[in-house]
Amino acid sequence: MTSNVVLTTGLALILIGMWGLLTHRNILRIIIAFSVMGTGTHIMTVAIGYVTNGTAPIIDRALNLSEAPVRAVDPIPSALVVTAIVIGLAVTAVMLAYAIRLYQSKKTLSIDAFTESKW
């Protein structure tokens, strides 16, 4: 059974991130909104694999083979979330690099200054 509190927190963070994306016009704030959304996705991923009163998926004295399917936390979402965090880090780094370049070209971080194309 998944943890509803953690799942709801994750979904709430995703929505807050989306709201931030839609309402802010400063590039750094937009990047922060993306990070909040990404964190929400990661929390949601972990919540999907969570098992109430479960334990780590390591078969030993504390968890025997027959109990594993019901008591062990699903390891796959944990593996997925590690990959997703690494990818999220790379994407944020690229966005920040572009933010620096945009700032150097117009000396501002407001997207309103970049009028070459419609936003």
């Binding site: 991923t45 999907i48 194309s117």
Partner: protein, 500 residues
């Protein structure tokens, strides 16, 4: 021995290995870097080409299982005939396109290699999360390639591209996780088999996020300004790679998961149709060449989406393969060739392309690329549209035929208006000063279009007789000095003979 060297898994080994090797070789000299870069792409092309030949001769699909176990305990990749068409097509284009990157810094070459490898991964993988990883590899490498242009317009266009694609990939991740929560599997084939479990709010939300990502990545109308700006401002080689290669990877991902969206197929087809018609309608008012090519590219992706959804509905697998492969190959070679031509010319306004009239070969190849894009015989786009229309007629879906024909008519209108404009304004602009050697990859695209058209005609059991309008056009062009009346009679006679 040979088959183990040419195993499809080696595409990834070569891609990643080349990526590691190029920075090391940069210490020896630029020539070594260029050699390693071209050899890596040539090896990937050879591997996918070899697999394509085997599959074309009726070989079974090649399955790659990681860790020696079967799904769902492993990630599997598959190279069937459809995958091989996409992978080989993209590799061929990347090989010819590498000519425009050999003088760039080694980092650019590494990124180019990673984009090409990532597209192969997107095409071949059968695991939803692995698809996300390859999507991100392609996206991040593309962001790097887009930094080749440093004008404020290019930077802001790239940032918009970043925002849209990151939003799309976040949607993909949310969709993947929710679908895993609903079914407990990540393998696409298992997901399709267990699609009965995708019910309730979690399953439905997961499906919708997945669909939203793939449709957003295909730049649907009207949410496609971010894609158009990149097509207009990026390095022409990068714009060509995004238009032909990255879009192909995303589209193939959509085809793979399409059986999950059976109840939404009408919606997907309607979105494809809207994009196809409105992109071509907006293409009519464009004055800048690369923006026009961007609209045409987005329109073609709309047509592919429309065709895939409608043919999935009618469960016409063989027809679906011919239509999708034909449309894809046609768009890939023609659009990539046109973007390279845009880079070769360096002219922004449509009428400035009259510089092409100088070398006769250049205007000839431009005409071929435009004719192919319009879906004229004998190019593969014609056979694909023919098959699509026949299939739609057989299932009495006439409204979709009208949409396909109307959108195609609009596309032909602006492309041939452009062609006419160039011919009329010839001599008013500067002549080309660049060497014709840079035109060679573009000639190769024209040649590939003609070859693939003949193969498509052969596969569909049709004769080349249907290419008579194009041959007639060429004859009329050669007989331009003859009086108008004689030419009119000639056309009428040919129409009569063709009709009989």
């Amino acid at each position: 021995m040979v088959s183990s060297f040419l195993h499809p898994l080696n595409i990834f080994i070569v891609g990643l290995g080349g990526g590691f090797l190029i920075p090391l070789l940069s210490r020896l000299g630029k020539r070594w870097v260029a050699i390693a870069f071209i050899l890596s792409i040539a090896a990937m092309t050879l591997i996918s080409g070899f697999s394509f030949l085997i599959l074309l001769q009726g070989g079974p699909p090649i399955d790659i299982l990681t860790g020696g176990s079967t799904p769902p305990y492993s990630i599997n990749l598959r190279l069937g005939l459809a995958e091989a068409v996409f992978a080989f097509g993209v590799n061929l284009v990347a090989l010819f396109g590498s000519a425009y990157f050999v003088r760039e810094k080694y980092g650019t070459m590494v990124l180019y290699l990673l984009v090409v490898m990532g597209i192969q991964g997107m095409v071949m993988t059968r695991d939803l999360f692995n698809l996300f990883v390859f999507l991100e590899i392609v996206s991040i490498a593309t962001y790097g390639l887009l930094s080749l242009q440093e004008t404020p317009a290019a930077l802001s266009a790239t940032f918009k591209y970043l925002m849209a694609t990151i939003l799309a990939s976040t949607f993909f991740l949310i969709g993947t996780v929710l679908l895993y929560g609903a079914t407990g599997v990540l393998n696409i084939d298992d997901l399709i088999a267990k699609s009965g479990l995708i019910v309730g709010p979690i399953g439905f939300t997961g499906l919708m996020f997945l669909l939203a990502c793939l449709l957003l990545e295909l730049k649907p109308f009207p949410a496609n300004g971010w894609g158009l700006d990149v097509y207009e401002t990026a390095h022409s080689g990068v714009a060509a790679l995004i238009s032909g290669g990255v879009s192909a990877g995303v589209f193939f991902a959509l085809i793979k998961v399409l059986p999950l969206f059976k109840p939404q197929l009408d919606l997907i087809a309607a979105l494809g149709a809207t994009t196809f018609v409105f992109s071509n309608l907006l293409g009519l008012q464009q004055t800048k060449a690369r923006r026009l090519l961007g609209y045409s590219s987005i329109g073609q992706m709309g047509l592919l989406t429309l065709a895939a959804a409608l043919l999935e509905q009618s469960s016409a697998d063989e027809a679906a393969f011919l239509v999708i492969a034909g449309l894809f190959v046609n768009h890939l070679f023609a659009k990539v060739g046109l973007f390279w031509l845009a880079g070769y010319l360096g002219k922004e306004r449509l009428q400035d392309w009259s510089a092409l009239v100088g070398p006769p070969a250049a205007i000839f190849v431009f005409g071929i690329l435009l004719a192919a894009l319009c879906g004229f015989p004998p190019f593969p786009g014609f056979w694909a549209k023919w098959q699509l229309v026949m299939n739609l007629a057989a299932s009495q879906r006439y409204i979709w035929i009208v949409i396909v024909l109307f959108g195609s008519l609009l596309e032909a209108a602006y492309l041939f208006r452009w062609f006419g404009q160039i011919l009329q304004s010839s001599g008013k602009t500067d002549r080309l000063s660049r060497s014709s050697v840079a035109l060679l990859p573009i000639f190769a695209m024209a040649l590939l279009l003609a070859t693939s058209g003949c193969v498509a005609a052969f596969l569909m059991g049709l004769t080349l007789w249907t290419s008579i309008p194009l041959i007639a056009g060429l004859i009329l062009y050669l007989l331009d000095r003859v009086s108008g009346r004689t030419k009119c009679f000639g056309v009428l006679a040919l129409t009569l003979v063709g009709g009989i």
